[in-house]
Symmetry: none
Subunit: 252 residues, 2 copies
């Protein structure tokens, strides 16, 4: 029984309930199982129905649950859960039913390398925040990230709480929501420093993402993330709408 109670506090009730439902769906129930009805959840957690619905709404949007009118709300098949889209690490992990956390290694202003400066549209002598973090899922190290962020639009970034979703800080703290990104992916093998940070053996295969993210036309992030290839997988659905009208595969 994990029906922890929902309390008033800094964390919203629907966020707490959402976590409880993820826990329930992933760890106690399984794919295709029905979760308790909305009215049952109301009394179980002592919240209103609109709060229950808001929690479920977000999990449906994330693909973890699906609703069937007149029948109930059900846990989705895992393979439909994770699609490759513009998600932050935190969102990504929650969608997989894992609890994200972060170890902050450091944030300091530095002069970025030329390729980073070019990607962020910075002058050669400009400085930028250099943020190093280890990202964990259920307490296990998954990824090592080095991100670069321009200083001008993001003053005092070093005074923020950088243990959570940076995308939420950008959006809620600066009004700069990430809405597009270009990403390149390749493979590497872990060197000594990376292996130590990820608590992994030397030469562990890594999935390396280089991402440049924008808010509108403004480049806000250049981040290289090294994921443990043995613990992290990417799922993609290549659906029929991806093919376009032509019978042969689309180009460009």
């Amino acid at each position: 029984m994990t029906s922890q109670t929902i309390t008033d506090g800094p964390r919203s009730k629907h966020a707490q309930l959402r976590d409880a439902l993820v826990e329930l769906a992933v760890h106690e129930l399984g794919p295709d199982a029905a979760i308790p009805s909305e009215r049952v959840l109301m009394s179980t957690y002592d919240v209103s129905r609109s709060t229950v619905r808001k929690s479920i709404d977000s999990l449906v949007a994330d693909g973890l649950l699906r609703r069937i009118h007149g029948k109930g709300t059900f846990v989705s098949r895992p393979r439909l859960e994770s699609r490759l889209h513009l998600a932050s690490f935190s969102q990504d992990m929650r969608r997989r039913g894992l609890t994200p956390s972060t170890v902050l290694l450091g944030i300091e202003p530095h002069r970025p390398p030329v390729d980073v400066a070019a990607a962020l549209d910075l002058d050669d002598d400009a400085r930028a925040w250099r943020l190093d973090r280890v990202r964990l899922a259920d307490g296990q190290p998954i990824a090592l990230e080095r991100g670069w962020y321009p200083q001008a639009p993001l003053p005092d970034l070093d005074r923020r709480d950088l243990s959570g979703s940076l995308y939420e800080i950008l959006k809620d703290g600066y009004g700069l929501g990430i809405d597009a990104a270009e990403q390149t992916l390749w493979g590497e093998s872990a060197d000594v420093a990376t292996a130590r940070r990820l608590d992994a053996p030397l030469h562990t295969p890594l999935l390396v993402f280089r991402r440049v993210s924008r808010s509108g036309d403004l480049p806000l992030e250049h981040v290289v993330s090294r994921y443990r290839g043995d613990r992290y997988q990417i799922h993609m659905s290549l659906g029929p709408d991806a093919l376009g009208p032509a019978p042969r595969t689309t180009k460009g």
Copy 2:
């Protein structure tokens, strides 16, 4: 003036309001403009605030609007069109400006492993074609593939010319075009046999794709491809679209 009234009827109010807001945001306002506040929209359209919020919620989820607490709700910049590609190796390489070629290692009927049989909807004792190939780009080995194909819908597959695009054979030879796939990607490190086949050093980082492809409801292919992580990169454009992954391969 496009403030059409919201009426009771078969179409929900929040859906009508949503359309009205799209019209307003796209055709009357523009990027970065503020839409009327929620309380103004309430009285303008004579609906409750929760209905207003529900309409805005869905447009925020779609990326058309963004909210800033204390300031207002604003029209987003148009988001990237992102489509994914269901490309074969041959198509993929040609798009990169490289010449694809193939070394056929062998094709034989075998009893597939249980996970493969399950993915292909085969009985436990059924046999399937097992096809091993090395894929090259401009003469250099890039990927090692092991594919499984059901025998029943694909008689005489072993008599075809398997040095080119298998997807073209399926489509032109059997009338079975691949129109959907599920793909999973992770990292591995090359073992001795794989390294030799790819003419690569031991422990070369690999990008491993497992793909199950379908023609309609019929699973036609289960293939595991091991790409050299140092020679092969994947490039993708990511939009905020929750539905829309968008791997777009480019030259690495």
